[in-house]
Symmetry: C2
Subunit: 664 residues, 2 copies
C-alpha cells in the first residue's frame, strides 16, 4: 500500500511545510488523520470539487477544526481550486485558509469549526436534514436526496458536553447515514488524556444507540476502508469508527506527543520527518502523479452528471417537487410569503388588540406563516408548550417518521442550537428552536457561531425577564438580552405586540443570518397600532405614540415594558407634559439606521427614560442627552411576576418619577 501512504503523506507534508512557514498552527491532527482522510476522500466521499454546492454531495465536517490543514490539504489536492499560494497564506489576513475552517470563506468547508464538539453537533444536524429532505422529496426510483455525512472528531470534541447531547439525539433518531470517525490519539493540550479522559468511548456510544466500529488501526488503509464500508451499511444507527492513531504520525521525535499538537515541528524535525517517511520532495511540491491520483474532479463530475440525469427524470415525473426542492435548496422563500405577511398585518390591524402574552402572539403569527413555509423545521429543548414553539401546524419528527416539522430536542439547549446550525448550513431547511431565555446561556457559543457563519436560524427564547415569576432567579434572565445583542451582526427582537412579533418572524425568515426572538411569558399591554407603525417596526424602533408638539420627554421601552411606559405617559400627560413613547423591538436593527432616523425617533437631547426589565447596559449608547435607564441590575426573586416588578421598583410610578426628576 505504498501508494496510499504516499497520497496520505502529501497531506502530511503540505501541513508540515505550511505550519512551518506560518510559524504557527496545528500539525499533529492532520498528520495523524491523513491516512483515514485519504481512504475516505479517495474511496468513499461523493462530491464534486467543481461544484461545492451540489445539493446531493456527501457532507464532510472536521470537528477538530484546529487541525484545519487537513481540510485545506484535502481541498487543495482534490481540486477545489485552493492553490499552493492559498496554503502558504495560512493564518494570514483575508486568506482562504484561516486558522480554523470557516464557512463562507473557503469553498468546500461545510461549517465553521474550532469551538470543540460543535462541528460534531453540526454534522448531526446535517444528517437530520438529509433524512428529512429525503423523506419529503424522494420518490420511488428517485433518491434525489441521498448522501452521507462524515465527521472527524478528536478527544476534545468527545469531552465537550455538546457532543454528548447531539450524539444522544442522533442515536435516538437513528440517523444511520451519519458516520463519525474518532481520532483516538490519547493526546490533548495538557498531555496524555487518560489522566482526565478515561471513558470507554466505544461502550459509551453503544449506550447512546450507535453502531460502533472499535479498535481500528488508523494507519492501516485496509482496516480503515473496511470500517467505512461497514459503516455505510448500518441499517438503523449512526456509526462511530474509533481509530487508534498517532498524533504527528511520521515525525520521528515528536509523534505521539503533545508538542506536535499546536506548534510547528521546527526546521530540523521537518527534515527528519521527510527522511523518515521517504518524502524527498521539496516544500509545497506534490508530484504530478500524486496530484492526479487525488484529483476528485473527474469522479465528481461523473457523480454529479449521474445525479443530474436522475434529477431530470425526477423533474419530468414530479415537476412540482423538483421545483420545490430547487427553491428550497436555493434558499428562496415561497412566492406567497409576502402576501401571507400582508394578510397577517391586515388581520392584526383589523382586529381588536387583546391582552395576551407575546409568546402567544408569536405562536399565532408563526403558525399562520408556517402554513406556507414547508422549509421551516421547528423544535424545542423540552419546553414546546411553555415556549409555545409548538404551533397548530406542528407535527413531531420521530425516529420512524421524518415527515414532521418539529424536533423534540430533549433538554439539550446547546446540542439543539448547534444542530440547527448544521441544518441551516446543509440547506433546504430553516430551523427554529426554543428554550427559556435564561438558558440561552447554555447554548450561547452556538448562537455566536450562527452569527459568524451568517446562517438563517431562529432562536426563540421565552420567559424573558423577572416576569417569569415564581421559578425565581435561576429562571429569570437579566443579563442575557445585552449579552445576545452584543454578538456581532446579531438581530434580536423583543416584540411587545402581535404586529411586532409578526415583523420579527418576517425579518427572521428573510435575513441572511440568525435572529433571536425574545417573548414574554406574562400578559403584555393592550394597545392599537397605527398603520404607519409597520414601517417603523421594520426599522427596529419607532414612535409608538407622539406628543402634539416637541416632546418634553421621551419614554422608550421594549416588549413587556411597553405597557409600563404607556401608563407612565398617561400620568405625565395628565401633569401637562408632552410625552413621546418609543418602542424599540430590535435595538440591533435600530442602531444600524442612520443617525438622522434615530434622531427622528429619539429626539436626541430631549430628556429620555429607557425602560426594560433587564440589564440596563445596552441602552446607554442611545442616551445623547439627559436621561436614565430603568432596568434590572440584580438577580430576581421567587414570587408572582407582578410582585417582583414592584420589588424591583420597575413600575409606571418609577418611570414617572424618573421623568419628573429629569424635567425638574
Amino acid at each position: 500500500m505504498s501508494d496510499r501512504r504516499d497520497l496520505a503523506n502529501a497531506i502530511r507534508f503540505l501541513t508540515v511545510d505550511v505550519v512551518q512557514k506560518a510559524n504557527s498552527g496545528h500539525p499533529g491532527t492532520a498528520m495523524g488523520m491523513a491516512d483515514i482522510a485519504e481512504v475516505l476522500w479517495n474511496d468513499f466521499l461523493r462530491h464534486n470539487p467543481a461544484n461545492p454546492k451540489w445539493l446531493n454531495r456527501d457532507r464532510f465536517v472536521q470537528s477538530n477544526g484546529h487541525g484545519s490543514m487537513l481540510t485545506y490539504s484535502l481541498l487543495h489536492l482534490s481540486g477545489y481550486g485552493l492553490t499552493v499560494q492559498d496554503l502558504k497564506d495560512h493564518r494570514k489576513l483575508h486568506s482562504k485558509t484561516p486558522g480554523h475552517p470557516e464557512y463562507g470563506i473557503t469553498a468546500g468547508v461545510e461549517t465553521t469549526t474550532g469551538p470543540l464538539g460543535q462541528g460534531f453537533a453540526n454534522a448531526v444536524g446535517m444528517a437530520l436534514a438529509e433524512r428529512k429532505l429525503a423523506q419529503e422529496f424522494n420518490r420511488e426510483g428517485f433518491p434525489v436526496v441521498d448522501h452521507f455525512t462524515y465527521v472527524f472528531v478528536g478527544d476534545g470534541c468527545l469531552m465537550e458536553g455538546v457532543a454528548q447531547e447531539a450524539a444522544s439525539l442522533a442515536g435516538t433518531l437513528k440517523l444511520n447515514k451519519l458516520i463519525a470517525v474518532y481520532d483516538d490519539n490519547k493526546i490533548s493540550i495538557d498531555g496524555e488524556t487518560p489522566g482526565w479522559f478515561a471513558d470507554d468511548t466505544p461502550a459509551r456510544f453503544r449506550a447512546l444507540g450507535w453502531n460502533v466500529i472499535a479498535d481500528v488501526d488508523g494507519h492501516d488503509f485496509d482496516a480503515i476502508a473496511a470500517a467505512f464500508t461497514a459503516a455505510r451499511r448500518s441499517p438503523d444507527k449512526p456509526t462511530m469508527i474509533c481509530c487508534k492513531t498517532i498524533i504527528g504520525y511520521g515525525s520521528p521525535n515528536k509523534q505521539g506527543k503533545e508538542e506536535v499538537h499546536g506548534a510547528p515541528l521546527g526546521v530540523d524535525e521537518v527534515t527528519l520527518t521527510r527522511e523518515h517517511l521517504g518524502w524527498p520532495h521539496e516544500a509545497f511540491v506534490v508530484p504530478d502523479a500524486i496530484m492526479q491520483a487525488w484529483d476528485a474532479r473527474p469522479r465528481g463530475e461523473k457523480a454529479e452528471a449521474e445525479w443530474n440525469a436522475l434529477f431530470a427524470a425526477y423533474r419530468a415525473q414530479h415537476p412540482a417537487l423538483a421545483a420545490e426542492l430547487e427553491r428550497r435548496t436555493a434558499g428562496r422563500l415561497p412566492e406567497g410569503f409576502d402576501t401571507a405577511v400582508s394578510a397577517e398585518v391586515e388581520r392584526i390591524l383589523g382586529g381588536e388588540p387583546v391582552k395576551q402574552p407575546v409568546r402567544k402572539a408569536s405562536n399565532r403569527v408563526l403558525g399562520n406563516l408556517l402554513k406556507g413555509l414547508p422549509e421551516v423545521i421547528g423544535g424545542s429543548a423540552d419546553v414546546s408548550l411553555s415556549t409555545l414553539a409548538w404551533t397548530g401546524e406542528a407535527r413531531s419528527i420521530t425516529p420512524e417518521d421524518f415527515s414532521g416539522n418539529f424536533v423534540h430536542y430533549g433538554v439539550r439547549e446547546f446540542g439543539m442550537s448547534a444542530m440547527m446550525n448544521g441544518m441551516a448550513a446543509h440547506g433546504g431547511l430553516i430551523p427554529y428552536g426554543a428554550c427559556y431565555l435564561v438558558f440561552s446561556d447554555y447554548s450561547r457559543n452556538a448562537v455566536r457561531l450562527s452569527a459568524l457563519m451568517g446562517l438563517k436560524a431562529v432562536f426563540l427564547y421565552t420567559h424573558d425577564s423577572i416576569g417569569v415569576g415564581e421559578d425565581g432567579p435561576t429562571h429569570q434572565p437579566c443579563e442575557q438580552l445585552v449579552a445576545l445583542r452584543a454578538i456581532p451582526t446579531m438581530s434580536l427582537w423583543r416584540p411587545g405586540s402581535e404586529l411586532e412579533a409578526l415583523v420579527a418572524w418576517e425579518s427572521a425568515m428573510k435575513r441572511e443570518g440568525p435572529s433571536v426572538i425574545v417573548a414574554a411569558r406574562q400578559d403584555g399591554a393592550v394597545f392599537a397600532h397605527k398603520a404607519g407603525d409597520l414601517e417603523g417596526i421594520r426599522k427596529g424602533g419607532y414612535i409608538l405614540k407622539d406628543a402634539a408638539g416637541k416632546p418634553d420627554v421621551v419614554l422608550a421601552a421594549t416588549g413587556s415594558e411597553l405597557g409600563l411606559v404607556l401608563e407612565a405617559a398617561k400620568v405625565l400627560e395628565g401633569e401637562g407634559r408632552a410625552v413621546r413613547v418609543v418602542s424599540i423591538p430590535n435595538g440591533n436593527l435600530f442602531a444600524r439606521q442612520d443617525r438622522a432616523y434615530q434622531d427622528s425617533v429619539l429626539s436626541f437631547g430631549t430628556p429620555a427614560v429607557f425602560v426594560e426589565a433587564a440589564s440596563p447596559l445596552y441602552w446607554y449608547q442611545f442616551l445623547k442627552g439627559p436621561g436614565v435607564v430603568v432596568g434590572v441590575d440584580r438577580f430576581g426573586e421567587s414570587a408572582p411576576g407582578p410582585e417582583i416588578y414592584r420589588a424591583m421598583n420597575l413600575t409606571a410610578e418609577r418611570v414617572v418619577s424618573e421623568a419628573a426628576q429629569l424635567l425638574a
Copy 2:
C-alpha cells in the same frame, strides 16, 4: 413496610398541598422520589439538622431542582427549622422556600439548583473537595473529613451536556464517595422521554467508569436500601443508582404522566390521592408519630458529638492541622496573606516594568501568592500552559493522589465551572479554573450561578481579544466582556499590568463572590506605576497619568489597550493638549464607587475616549458628556494580532483622531 410508606407519604402530601396552595409548582418529582428520599434520609444520610454547617456532614444535592418541595419537605420533617408556614409560603416573595432550592436562603440547601445538570456537576465538585481535604487532613485513626455526597438527578439532568462532562471526570478521578440516584420516570416536559432520550443510561455510566446499580424499583424500600448499602461500599468508582419510578406516584389519574410534572394536581385529584394512598390527614398536618420518626436531630446530634470527640483527639495530636482545617472551613485567609500581597507590591513597584503578556504577569503573582494559600485549588480546561493557570506551585491531582492543587479538567469548560461551584460551596477550598475567554460562553450559566450563590471562585480567562491573532474569529472574544460584566454582582478584572493583576488576585481571594480575571495572551504595555496607583486599582479605576491642569481630554482603557492610549496621549500632548489617561481594570467595581469618585477620575463632561478591544457596549454608561467608545463590534480575523488591530482600526492614530474630532 407500611410505616415507611407513611413516612414517604408525608413528603407527598406536604408537596401536593403546598403546590395546590401556591397554585404553582412541580409536584411530580417529589411524589416520585419520596420513597427513595425516605430511605436515604432516614437510614443513611449523616447530618445534623441543628448544625447545617457541620463540616463533616454528608452533602445532599437535588439536581432536579424544580422538584424543590422534596428538599423542603425533607428539611421540614428532619428538623432544620423550616416551618409549616415556610412551606405554605412556597414561591412567595422573600420566603425560605423559593421555586428552586437556593443556597444561602434555606438552611440545609447545599447549592442552588434548577438549571439542569449543574447540581449534578456541583456534587462532583463536592466529592472532589471531600477527597482532597480527606487526603490533606486525615491522619491514621482520624478520618476527620469522611463524608458521602448524594445527588438526585432526573432525565433532564442526564440529557444536559454538563452532566456528561462532570460524570466523565468523576469516573476518571474515581470519586467513589459520590452516589447519584437517577429518577428514571421516563417523563419530561414534552411527554414520554423515549422519543428524545433513548440512552442506555446504565451502560453509559459504566462506560464512564461508574459503578452502576441498575433496575432498582424506586418504590421498593428494601431494594432502595440495598442499593445505597452497596453504593457506599464501592471501592474505587462513583455510583449511579438507576431507580425506576413513577412520576406523581399516588395520584390515581395523573401519575406517570407529564401533567403531574409542573402544575398543581387540582383539588379533586388531591382528594383522590389522599384516598388512594390512605392519607386521611388534613392539609399540612403530619401526625406526631410520623414527625417523630423523621426527626433527625437526635441522631444528628449524636453523630456530630462523636465527630467532635474525634476532632478533639485529633486536635490534641495534630494541633496545627486541626487549626488549619478550622481556618479553611471557616473561609478565613491565612494571617500572612496581606503581608504576602504587600511583598508582591514592593517587588513589583521596586522592579523595572517589563514587556510581558498579562497572562504571564498573572501567573507570576498567582504563583507567589499560592505559596501561602494551600486552600486554593486551580485547574484548567485542557489549556494549563497557554492560559498559564499552571504556576510554579502547581501539582497535578490524579486519580491516585489528591494531594496536589491543580485539576486537569479536560476539554470541559462548563463541567469545570460547575464543579468549581461545588467545591466552593463545600468549603475548605477556593477554586480557580481557566480557559480561553471566548469559551467562557460554554460555561456561562455556571458563572452566573456562582454569582447568584456568592461563591468564592475565580474564573481565569486568557486570550482575551482579537489579539489572539491567527486562530481567528472562533477564538477571538468580542462580546464576552460585556456579557460577563453584565452578570449581577460580578467582579470582572481586565488587568493591564502586573500590579493590576496582583490586585485582581488579591480581590478575588478576599471577596465573597466570584471573580473573573481576564488576561491578554500578547505582550502588554511597559509603564511604571506610581505608589498611589495601588489604592486606585483597588477601586476599579484610577488616573494612571494626569495632565498638569484640567484635562482637555480623557483617554480611558483597560488591559492590553493601555499601551495604545498611552501612545495616543503622547501624540496629543505633543500637539499641546492636556491629556488624562485612566485605567479601569474593573468596571464593575468602579461603577460601584460613588459618583464623586467616578467624577474625580473621569472628569465627567470632559471629552472622553474609551478604548477596549471588545464590544463597546459596556462603556457608554460612563459617558456623561462628549465622547466616543473605540471598540470592536464585528467578528475578528485570522492573522497575526498586530495586523488585526490595524485591520480593525484599533490604533493609537485612531484614538488621536477621535480625540481631535471631539476637540475640534
